[in-house]
Point group: C2
DNA sequence: TTGAAAGCGTTACCAA
DNA sequence: TTGGTAACGCTTTCAA
């Protein structure tokens, strides 16, 4: 039925062991023999049986990339970069390529665990967890336990965009959300804004908390009272919805900071629908510097996270092609990007 | 080291065969025995070895979803819906879940083939190819051959958003890009536009060709001469860049149709940068009805493709939970969505 | 440099 | 309803 390694061996008049060695390129084989084997592989259109080799070698070529929302370019950019880094160099166990796969958790803790189990079952070579994480202690414990099992079994674990995990020895690339958020609010304050609303992400998420902390730190340092803060999901409809609450609680807002650019989009749409001009009546600031959003709100002031670089680096670490950050988890800076859309308050 | 099925069997005082049957739930087992086995599984924290079972069963729980650009919500929405449909019902070979994985080809034909080979090697249960396809005969032949091998080996193949392939028996869900594009241009014509520019996608892509054909059909039916047409990539920077060429070739344009919403975003940005107002000076129309873009160009007129529904359906078909469209590949309608941003030409 | 053969952990068939 | 036991296709010592 399907062509096996034995078929190739027979055709090339060598032993299966030799074929395996040629294919894996990790063992000396005479040039002539290699030639013969490769020809046989070609002629028979042989494709190795992944499960079989994974079973024998006790590891697979699979690299899992977990994302919270695959429809959000924030994750798409990171995942794409990681996948690019993994697919490119071609370093499967056998010089064959790795299979970088993206798994969409939808931000659901259960699905996150399910995917980790699935990946564990597949004996994945590496797992990359991207984006902020839930802060529920129970869930964190479960994830930590799972990751510990994975690393134990030889799976490399990389945290990209979330803080390190208690008791898990994983390479960590954490964004400096806190400082970024602080800079953003400082900038608004420097323009003269004093009544600033804040649309936060879901409660219990690291990104939500860190960004909010940065925002509050800036306000505190300037001695400015915190404006209304509302929580919502990290998507556009949510930004749209919660804006009404924000305005009802403080109709005199001069600026709104959104948890991220996607949410900022919704905020802007809601403001426009109420006849408020941006930045004439209200200035809006975002976070992440997503290309999509920057178009939506011409020249949105936001914070740039190096999503592409972080993803690519995570990919290389997962591959073992780059040393993981030693000791302290490396913190990736968040850079304030000022564009024209943010103006001083009216009057 | 790691817990195996034999360990569970020993602990539960049954044979390995029985444990397998309990886990796969596809064979009668006495309730008491099942109970005992499940407890052992739990106590030992046993996770089945995927590669081993894939080898023995000659099929895996992997479902591959190929996308052209993972950072583009067009694909994100489809992939997310497919993944949701696949993850949800829990119908691995064993009542265990399937692992739906997204593979990013970047629109590169070679990577597309590489991923197909990788999935073939993994003995994937199903493969979903999303979005338009390259029309290069050589590449098409290679893909067809690959898909033929896959179906032969029992992998289900679903084409979602691209036309059927010669000689490949795959379930096909094709968007009616042609009619959608035609409606869109008809609408502009009905408003009185006569000088309409067109920003097409990359040459040799099915979506590019079909949408352009629809556009031309509308013009021909109305007896209106075709305006300038330029080709670019399916992304925002490309839309931005080619707009200058469009304007230099026809400074008197009153409307621009973009190959999709993402491109329309770039077009709008370029027009704004030249001081042209939308839709005051130039009306812009898109395609795909992406949430992101609709915000960017308040009330962009566009064509809605049921991305979510299509993706979910593709997922169910891949699972075998839904019958694939019989006989003729089912064509999914594209619906014109008129919003306020498109106006009659000035004067 | 090559070959022989013993696993790797499940599944599934055949008996019991 | 359960157990015994060949496969499944590859990797990897150990010898030659």
């Amino acid at each position: 039925m399907t062509v096996t390694l034995a078929d190739v061996a027979a055709r090339a008049q060598v032993s299966p062991a030799t074929v395996s060695r040629v294919l894996n390129g990790n063992y000396p084989v005479a040039a002539a023999t290699r030639e013969r084997v490769l020809r046989a592989v070609d002629e028979l259109d042989y494709v190795p049986n992944g499960p079989a080799s994974s079973l024998a070698a006790a590891t697979s070529d699979l690299v899992g990339i977990l994302v919270n929302d695959i429809a959000d370019p924030f994750f798409g950019i990171m995942a794409g970069a990681a996948q690019g880094a993994i697919g490119a160099p071609g370093a499967g166990r056998a010089g064959g390529e790795k299979l970088a796969v993206v798994c969409n958790t939808g931000g659901d803790p259960e699905r996150e665990l399910t995917y980790l189990t699935l990946l564990q079952r597949q004996r994945a070579a590496a797992v990359i967890l991207t984006g902020g994480s839930l802060e529920d202690p129970e869930h964190l414990a479960a994830v930590s336990a799972k990751l510990a099992r994975l690393t134990e079994a030889g799976t490399r674990v990389v945290l990209c965009g979330r803080p390190p995990l208690e008791g898990v020895s994983a390479a960590t690339l954490a964004f400096d959300n806190r400082t970024g958020a602080q800079r953003l609010t400082e900038y608004l304050l420097s323009l003269g804004h004093r009544r600033i609303g804040y649309v936060a992400g879901p409660e219990n998420r690291t990104t939500t908390r860190h960004r909010l902390e940065g925002h509050r730190a800036a306000l505190a340092a300037a001695g400015v009272a915190e404006g209304p803060t509302v929580h919502g999901r990290y998507d556009r409809p949510s930004g749209y919805e919660v804006t009404s609450e924000l305005l009802s609680r403080a109709p005199d807002l001069t600026a709104v900071v959104a948890a991220n650019d996607t949410v900022a989009l919704g905020v802007c749409a809601a403001l426009r629908d109420r006849g408020l001009s941006i930045p004439g009546d209200v200035s809006v600031a975002g976070f992440d510097d997503l290309p999509f959003s920057v178009d939506a709100v011409p020249a949105l002031t936001t914070v740039r996270l190096p999503l592409h670089e972080a993803g690519a680096r995570a990919g290389r670490i997962a591959l073992g092609a780059e040393e993981p950050p030693a000791g302290e988890p490396s913190t990736i800076p968040a850079e304030l990007v000022v564009r024209g859309s943010t103006a001083p308050p009216k009057g």
